[in-house]
Symmetry: C2
Subunit: 239 residues, 2 copies
């Protein structure tokens, strides 16, 4: 019997590029406002607006676009031009229509593991945006369940595992966000593999829970089959 | 044995007010642009923008806000002021935070039927917005399953019924949108109760499928228990 009844993956910046598109849009946003403010101040104010809007607008590209527009109005004291507002909306539409670019090693790893474990995909953000990305990724056939949630908390993971009848100690989550993919899962007594990505949104940053039982780190997703083999082997030797 | 294994309800304008908030926001939007264009032309252009953005932005308040902003930029040839843009964003935030107002008779009907049938809620729109409305409505305990979908099509209903192991002929959907709640459900061979609401978004309008097997109309949700009793009685007499 294998050690896990389900292995779940985060999607954005775990399976495919995402933060890169936000970073590019934010770069264009900085350029729009360059004759009003310094890049650092623009970033800081945008982040403040995003945090203030999070309880109302939630996560995702549309929320990001509304926060950019609001920040632009504030930082220009209302002098932002209609053309610049249109540029921000166009940037959001481009983000929503962007190609899905899988991270290195993802396709082979997911395809390989799908034969050995029931795989799940657990992601947060805009419902439609996430659905179309999953469809376009080509990975949909490998996932037995796809769960798009509005937030990733210990409570929401707990409810999800209960609904699927999965015991936390037999669940493994893989993702690039300590705050959303790792810490709430470890709090349930489940296992979690942190695969850091080069870019991380400030909101998702947290301390690495080094030494916590069930916590693992990998440099890239291609190393996951090796880690799983080691864990299964350890179980065999212990039994 | 009762006739249905599940009765599902649409949420917006079936259980609680929704279109009213869009109509109010659109009224403010018309007022903002009143010195540029006629109300009819503003409505028409906003609807065109919404339809153009639907494949990118999907349904919901954030998509509506982005379409209002884009329409304002277009209709003023970029002369819209920052303050007016801010007014539109504020309107969206107010919509997202609006009180959930149940339609007449809903609380008693849903509570009464929950004892006799497994109830579901099937709604489309922003994930977080719909979740918070369900939580604030006080109706959550009556629904065995809540499904928030990005679109309501014959395919999406079919997949949902399959996932829950419900045969279409033992499924009844109740809602105020012919296009989203009634026609795709009848196409599966399931039953559907159309409960028209005073306001309907043009996008949701369709022909009433009068005479189609499994199609029913009610003036308000309070009449649903009576309809169900009649249907169950007819089954008893036929058996």
């Amino acid at each position: 019997m294998s050690r896990f009844d389900a292995i779940a993956f985060d999607a954005d910046d775990t399976l495919w590029h995402n933060e890169r598109f936000y970073a590019r849009a934010q770069e264009r946003f900085r350029a729009l406002l360059a004759h009003y403010h310094s890049p650092d101040w623009i970033d800081q104010r945008l982040y403040q607006t995003e945090m203030r809007n999070l309880p109302h607008f939630g996560y995702g590209i549309k929320a990001f676009a509304l926060s950019m527009i609001e920040t632009a109005v504030e930082l220009t004291e209302g002098r932002i031009s209609g053309a610049d507002i249109q540029t921000i909306i166009d940037a959001a539409r481009e983000m929503l229509d962007a190609e899905v670019e899988l991270l290195e090693g993802v396709a082979a790893t997911v395809a390989g593991l799908a034969g050995a474990y029931p795989l799940m995909l657990i992601t947060k953000g805009d419902l439609r945006d996430q659905e179309t990305k999953i469809a376009r990724s080509g990975l949909a056939p490998y996932f037995r369940h796809v769960e798009i949630v509005s937030d990733k908390s210990t409570a929401s993971y707990g409810a999800l595992l209960q609904r699927h009848g999965i015991a936390p100690e037999r669940f493994l989550m893989v993702g690039n966000s300590l705050r959303s993919d790792i810490l709430p899962v470890l709090a349930l007594g489940a296992s979690a593999v942190y695969v850091p990505f080069e870019l991380t949104w400030a909101h998702e940053a947290a301390e690495r829970p080094l030494g916590r039982p069930g916590y693992y780190e990998l440099a890239h997703l291609g190393l996951l089959p090796g880690l799983l083999a080691t864990l299964e082997q350890a179980d065999l030797q212990a039994s």
